[in-house]
Symmetry: C2
Subunit: 695 residues, 2 copies
């Protein structure tokens, strides 16, 4: 049967509301878990307050920024206000603001639950690994459900209000631009604190991780929340919306041809089904006899399985095209390939990590060289995977008719991101149990509890490498689809302006090639600026930690009653992150605009392409190299190649310190960077078409 | 007046012979410089023998490889032998072999003179800096003249024998494939020795650089010759031929239209003029009142000036098109931009080096993070420069007629590489004076002499950063032109096969996009494999040095008469380099072929594009980061931020060790890698057009 579009909108809204209800239920469940340790409650309050302070300051700053952008949108986008249609510009600005607000709310919800779940997880560990796992996982799932619920709800509402899919791009741009800065800010905060705490604590003084004497220890835990929970949530929120926006823009063009809204229906249907599958997967998740890692993986497999079966049934029921269903499955396939590749290069049972650990015995230079090398090699398989999957999706849908091929690519991104609710749940689990480990240490819960939280934490790290690869792959497919959306926006604008549209972007056109070279440089410059931010900021914080150990008498010796000034370190991380988070993003955006006004839409086509290619390359490299160094260090710490305190260990710690901003600041932020410039290009298509000096 | 093509061929041959005669004169001049120190003669003999041993083994290995490739060419290229024209295949194989032989001979000449000039330069330093500079510079110039003379002679002879420009691609492929392996082998050898000698000598034992007690010291000096002299010479030989080949292929197509050979004449004329300008520049080079750096730079400026004036006169005289002359000048412009950018990021009077030195005080992780970040940022300006210059050349020549635009891009590469004779002379100067420094130390020539050789050495390093940037930029423009040549080869083959040709490569075509993603991964994988080679090999050599210090009694204490077993270290560097040099190159070539047979010419178009973009990005990043770390270390050693022996210094040494294979093994080899796959694609155009499974 063929159902009207309204049915799918209604269904999407219902499922989104269901996910909110489920999130509330999970939230209440976590909250009612017992907790009684006063020391833990005290530290947890520090962490919560630190996180809220930072997030508040960050969002105030970003609100001003978003306000300024909204003003610019009213003036210029999608067409300059004096060229007619001012109401369209206001609508676009409203969609943009809505995108930023949805993203911010999702971030706040994430932090709210994470700063409760960390405490519950720590105390639950006293009752065993299973209850502790459940507290951590369900805490993360609150975030997962809230984020993906907002995605589906936001898009469905927007489609209900307006049929103009360009508005969706504005909404998506709002979400992305907030994610760009939130991730950069959170990433700089968290790694500033992490690196500084490790360097002074572990390396110089030889005190354990999370030792309460360390002035940076609370800042480090705050960082897990603002960087990993809020930042990562904003990132996947953004990818998820962008993939739907790209698909709906392309579907809109196709639906004009069919006279129905079947393709748009399909996008909403698949996305809502993915959310439903995630709800079921989260609900069923339990830790059985296996490890926490296998419990997390099992829930992912279950969710994926449900998604595959449900969409197949829907495709049959609602007369969707099987080829497009196949394209979605191709997207899921890349997810698997990237997961396997990330796992190989970051798993301590494989050659790359082990060889890096062995090389560390010859000194830190060899740790770095090995990690950089394996990181470079690790990009090959994922890039081939993304390329093949896009190719398969394209060729599969090509026979349906003109325009369907690119729609197929967009649907492969939607397919890959369909299970994002589950992915976020798994991912947010990581920082929660990491925090729980710190609380258990600071609350003196004893070695048995620490062993449990360590096991949970290590599962978080393993899963993180895979979900990060997933996020990058998803962004890859999404931006390929956004390239298609850009082309479609350009041609629509050309039609309105009465000038000739473009068919594609030829590499042999030197304007395209010029754009490509500049676009390729952007992710390198962007990530470098973030890393320099961490670098500068951590140097300031290391100085502060040294000062406290020097000036606060009895601190180093652990004299009872002597506490460090935690707030000073949080303050440094905050002010540094706020200062550094804007420039990198702004440079990327300005370069995009400059290239557009210089070389026109052709240069932008090349720019986006170069940006995607080098962005994926660098993001994969940095994430995998960072994960590899982290695990090489842990491998040595677990007693291999000299163990803790050996020269090899010292070298591995240096590798890990380099890897920290690679994998948690720069690498994953690149996803968002490429999405933002893709969206801004689509939004500015008319302007670039009208005003460009060298076209 | 319009002169016949034969005139230009004759003139090119005459100028090439002139450059050979000049090289012989320079060689005799260097050889007759006085030398009398027996100790220096002894060490110099060790170095010479080590270098010859390695080169001999390497070339024997490569001869077998080249033989196998020649056989494959006879069977398959340009068309499979059973599809007709077997004589064409034999010709192609002969051109290929000629290319490898020319390249090998140039390398041998370079090593021959370098292992004499090092000794002369060391002893000349006793008479002052000026004679010492002249010995070093003229030694390097022998290499410069021989290499560029061979380039011009080879191409002119080939054009005399056959008018089939595809043969030129075979010749160029021969030169490139030899360069690929020679550079990889030499690069692994030199950095294995350099890193190991530094790590054990400088860092662990605190003995000076070039201390004769260090078992790896001779291997380190051998490395300068086989890596920096022979490897770099092979690289620029290869770029230079490739740029001429690309330009002549495109000119050939245009000339069919004009009925004359005016465009081909222009290519030969400009290349020969560049060589003539280099001869004059080298002849006039003197060290005046300024520093050796300014002497080197001045000769470059003089050469460039002569080239600009002479080509302008020729353009007027011979009725060449002024627009094409303008395109050549655009190429020279990029050279300047890249030089400035490289200088900014590697000069110790600028922020990047100074900030990295400051960051080193907080530990090696910060040294690495700063260097990686500035290295990333350093790619922006050069990439914009290459893009703009290609764009200017294209737009400038577009109005001349169809096909001229891409010819303009090729001529900008020819323009940039025209002064390559001068560039090689400057570049070969570096390792010669580096060697001379070692000989002066080992020959106990005293502190005054060491100060002079240090000054000369430091000028070599400064110039090296700039010439390396130049080499990368030249390769960039060349491969863009080769992309044009590939397209032209494809269309020629399509015409013969009676199938439709292609107009360009559309990014929106997923086959192109797939190729692009894979192509982008190749330079990362290639450079990683080389670095892992150095990494593994250096670990073996460090072990050997430790063994010698442990087992040879009195060595550490410097007991008279006790010498280390230098030969064992040379043996390790040799066998390791020979084992590691083949795989990286072969993987790159096989991936190219796999993509071609999978996705056909469209996929290869994307592949080459992705390869160029990511190759330029990574090559610039690695060269600049490496140069920056080197100079940050030297900046600290000169007394800043703690000076020698401080923690900051130790951190900076680790940075430098990471940077060594970045800048001297992996980074510059990427040039050759992108050239090789571009050439192989053009050669296999017919095969990819005929046999591909997913086109």
């Amino acid at each position: 049967m063929t159902l009207p579009f309204g049915f799918f909108i209604a269904a999407a809204i219902v499922i989104a509301l269901l996910s909110f209800a489920f999130a509330v239920w999970l939230y209440m469940w976590v909250k009612k878990q017992p907790s009684s340790n006063a020391r833990i409650a005290e530290v947890a309050t520090y962490i919560k307050e630190g996180a809220y302070t930072f997030i508040k300051k960050e969002y105030i700053m970003l609100a001003k920024f978003a306000g300024a952008v909204a003003l610019l949108i009213i003036l210029f986008l999608p067409t300059p206000i004096w060229m007619g249609k001012p109401w369209e510009n206001v609508g676009m600005a409203a969609a943009y603001i809505a995108g930023t607000v949805f993203s911010a709310v999702a971030g706040i919800i994430g932090i709210r639950i994470a700063t409760i779940a960390n405490m519950k997880t720590a105390e639950a560990a006293q009752r065993g690994i299973k209850p502790s796992f459940m507290a951590g996982f369900r805490g993360g799932a609150v975030m997962g459900m809230a984020v993906v619920g907002s995605t589906v709800l936001g898009v469905a509402l927007l489609m209900l209000i307006t049929t103009n899919t360009t508005m969706l791009l504005g909404f998506s741009f709002g979400a992305s631009s907030l994610a760009l800065f939130a991730k950069a800010g959170g990433g700089i905060f968290t790694k500033t604190a992490d690196i500084s705490a490790d360097l002074v604590g572990k390396v110089e003084l030889g005190i354990p991780e999370d030792d309460p004497r360390n002035p940076a220890v609370i800042a480090d835990n705050v960082g897990d929340n603002v960087g990993d929970v809020a930042g990562m949530g904003a990132d996947l929120f953004d990818s998820s919306i962008a993939s739907m926006a790209a698909a709906l823009v392309l579907a809109g063009v196709l639906d004009k041809g069919t006279g129905s809204l079947i393709n748009s229906s399909m996008v909403l249907c698949y996305a809502a089904t993915g959310l439903l599958a995630s709800i079921i997967g989260v609900f069923l998740a339990r830790m059985g006899k296996g490890s926490p890692t296998s419990a997390l993986n099992k829930s992912t497999y279950i969710t994926t399985g449900i998604f595959i079966v449900l969409t197949a049934i829907e495709t049959l029921l609602f007369n969707f095209d099987w080829r497009i269903w196949g394209a979605s499955m191709a997207g899921l396939l890349v997810g698997v390939i990237i997961g396997i590749a990330s796992d190989y290069y970051t798993n301590d049972e494989r050659k790359p990590v082990r060889n890096t650990a062995t090389a560390s015995a010859s000194g830190p230079a060899f740790t770095i060289l090995s990690g950089v090398s394996y990181g470079f090699i690790s990009v090959l398989l994922p890039l081939i995977g993304i390329g093949v999957s896009a190719l398969v999706a394209y060729k599969l849908c090509y026979p349906i008719g003109e325009g369907y091929a690119m729609f197929g690519v967009a649907m492969s991104a939607v397919g890959m991101l369909s299970i994002v609710g589950m992915i976020i749940s798994n991912d947010a689990y990581g920082p929660i149990v990491d925090n729980a480990r710190g609380l258990a240490e600071m609350g003196n819960l004893g070695d048995d509890v620490l062993e449990i939280t360590d096991t949970l934490d290590s599962a978080g790290n393993t899963v993180k490498a895979i979900t990060k690869g997933f996020a990058i792959g998803a962004a890859g497919l999404t931006v390929i689809a956004l390239l298609g959306a850009f082309l479609s926006e350009v041609n629509e604008a050309a039609l309105e302006l009465g000038i000739e549209g473009i068919k594609g972007f030829d590499i042999m056109d030197p304007t395209v090639f010029f754009g490509m070279l500049v676009g390729a440089a952007v992710p390198a410059v962007f990530s470098a600026m973030l890393m320099l931010g961490v670098d500068r900021n951590a140097q300031r914080m290391v100085e502060e930690i040294h000062r406290q150990f020097r000036e606060i008498l009895g601190l180093k010796e652990g004299k009872p009653g002597v506490v460090p000034e935690y707030a000073r370190c949080i303050e440094i991380a905050t002010s540094g992150a706020l200062r550094e988070l804007i420039p990198a993003g702004v440079v990327s955006i300005l370069l995009t605009i400059a290239v557009g006004f210089f070389g026109g839409v052709e240069a932008i086509g090349g720019f986006l392409c170069g940006n995607i290619v080098s962005g994926l390359l660098l993001a994969l490299f940095m994430s995998n190299a960072g994960g590899l160094w982290d695990n090489a260090k842990k491998y040595i710490e677990s007693g291999h190649g000299g163990g803790k305190g050996s020269d090899a260990h010292k070298a591995a710690v240096i590798g890990d310190t380099v890897g920290d901003p690679f994998k948690d600041t720069a690498g994953p932020s690149i996803n968002t960077q490429i999405t933002v410039v893709s969206l801004i290009s689509s939004l500015m298509a008319t302007l670039f078409l009208t005003f460009s000096i060298f076209r």
